[in-house]
Amino acid sequence: MRRILLLACILSLTACSSLGVKPWERDLLAKPEMQLAENPMELGFDDHTYFSKEGSSGGGSFAGGGCGCN
């Protein structure tokens, strides 16, 4: 499983150079709803909840230390 995922990562890296848009084609990508962190506060609430109720954390941002959640 891990090898397949790593292979997928490497393949997607090598494909990057031929992808993309011209500066004047960024109208849709510039919209707030297309930002990766379009609502950091929502992200914070969700991360806090899942961090304290599940055994995994991190991925999208730092897993970090945090709280004595129980």
């Binding site: 891990r2 990057c16 150079s17 993309g20 990508l29 919209k31 962190a37 730092f62 709280c67 129980n70």
Partner: protein, 420 residues
């Protein structure tokens, strides 16, 4: 076209999570230099059966200093109360437990999952994050956090660098975070594997834990409508990771728990994850699909899969709705066991905390957003179900026959956000 100041993303939207900022390719700015952006949020989290209830308020203020620099300050206050599973198994008779502090006791009725009802805390967290465009292609971000609750102190710093390539269609980022946590449980740190009724069951007053996170990110513009993100992260945690409030039942051959001992977790854990995310803007409707997948694994034997998807649908007059579905599946750590057998040696590492067991969780929710006086208000309602699994045949003898060893749990979350 919004090409002015294109090296910045909307700062108020990005500063909270340093790596997210840096993984976002440089695009148009929506706020002017010397402007202030304020985000306010409220979370109400309520579990069924009078378990944990949490109220969390957050305020985030971003000051854009100039075209290149911005600073953000965020404050969060949590108020928590309710009851939490203590790790002991349900029994066909009432059970009485000593409180984690060592003072007093509480009783669980026959057939009920033992819940520690002393759970009550207030947490205050403050963080600051600074971001600077170093030159046309390089972006720096650094920050610090402090979080304090009654028996827990968390301190952390983070720093990250990102560089654009390929006409700003590719962004590579690298970040690190270091955290230092101190726990000071009421009554002292319990001695793992020792009976909760043993008067000699306490060690020192406090313990510490250090976490080092490294995160490598790559963001790629695929085409005019599609953005893709790929992260690899590794987290090394050393120090005290046992939950001082969790215990295990010691069960005899008839299924009766005659003793309870404190749990014990290794003091070293290395966590890794691969995270992939895609955002797609469907034209001409303007609907946005946001799908992510995370594969997580660690050296405690846990592995998990998380799939998260959101679908934002614009309505008339800048209103929108956003359905959300999340699925999470984890396998248990190697040292998870629902109880210990009487007469067997106490293992070095053990936990009956369901959060380290085999479980699936499901989140389903809906968000509704609309403008108020030119600012955005949104409200989000979510249902969160946790299904714990395991070997049902372990419910042995008269003491445990018919009891639910792996009770499900559900929660409702209500969130609201205002941005001005």
């Amino acid at each position: 076209m919004q090409l002015k100041n294109k090296t910045f993303t909307n700062i108020s939207l990005t500063l909270a999570a340093a790596t997210c900022v840096l993984a976002t390719p440089a695009m148009a700015a929506t706020s002017e230099p010397d402007s202030w952006d304020i985000d306010a949020g409220l979370l109400i989290y309520a579990e069924s059966d009078d378990q944990v209830q949490a109220y969390e308020g957050a305020l985030s203020i971003t000051k854009r200093i100039d075209d290149e620099r911005s600073i953000n300050v965020k404050a969060v206050v949590d108020v928590l109360s309710g009851a939490s599973p203590n790790g002991a198994v349900a029994q066909n008779r009432a059970q009485t437990f000593t409180r984690p502090s060592g003072n007093g006791s509480y009783t669980t009725a026959a057939g009920e999952t033992p819940l520690d009802d002393t759970f009550q805390d207030t947490r205050v967290a403050l963080s600051t994050q600074y971001q600077q465009q170093l030159n046309r292609l390089w972006l720096y971000s650094g920050g610090a956090n402090v979080s304090k609750e009654y028996d827990y102190l968390a301190l952390s710093i983070n720093s990250a660098l990102a560089r654009d390539f390929n006409n700003r269609n590719t962004t590579a980022s690298f970040g690190f975070s270091y955290a230092y946590d101190t726990i000071e449980p009421e009554g002292g740190v319990p001695n793992p594997g020792v009976s909760v009724d043993d008067p000699d069951n306490r060690l020192e007053d406090s313990e510490t834990k250090q976490t080092l996170d490294l995160l490598f990110g790559l963001t790629q513009v695929i085409n005019r409508q599609t953005l893709m993100q790929l992260n690899y992260s590794i987290s090394d945690v050393s120090g005290y990771q046992t939950d001082p409030f969790k215990i295990l039942s010691v069960v005899d051959s008839d299924g009766w728990a005659n003793d309870y001992v404190y749990e014990s977790r290794p003091d070293q854990r290395t966590k890794q994850s691969l995270f992939w995310r895609t955002k797609y803007n469907l034209q001409p409707s303007g609907q946005v699909f946001d799908v992510s997948y995370r594969y997580f694994w660690d050296d405690w034997g846990m592995a998990s899969h998380t799939i998260d998807s959101k679908w934002r649908m614009p309505l008339a007059n800048s209103h929108f709705i956003e359905p959300h579905i999340r699925y999470y599946n984890q396998q248990a750590v190697d040292f998870y066991q629902v109880y210990l057998d009487e007469g067997q040696p106490i293992p070095e590492y053990m936990t009956a905390d369901y959060r380290l067991g085999e479980l699936q969780t499901y989140t389903i929710g809906l968000k509704y957003g609309f403008p108020i006086a030119g600012n955005e208000f949104s409200v989000r309602l979510e249902y969160y179900l946790t299904q714990v699994s395991g070997d049902e045949s372990l419910a042995k003898g008269a003491g445990m026959s018919g009891v639910d060893l792996y009770p499900d749990k559900s929660a409702v979350m209500l969130q609201s956000f205002y941005r001005f």
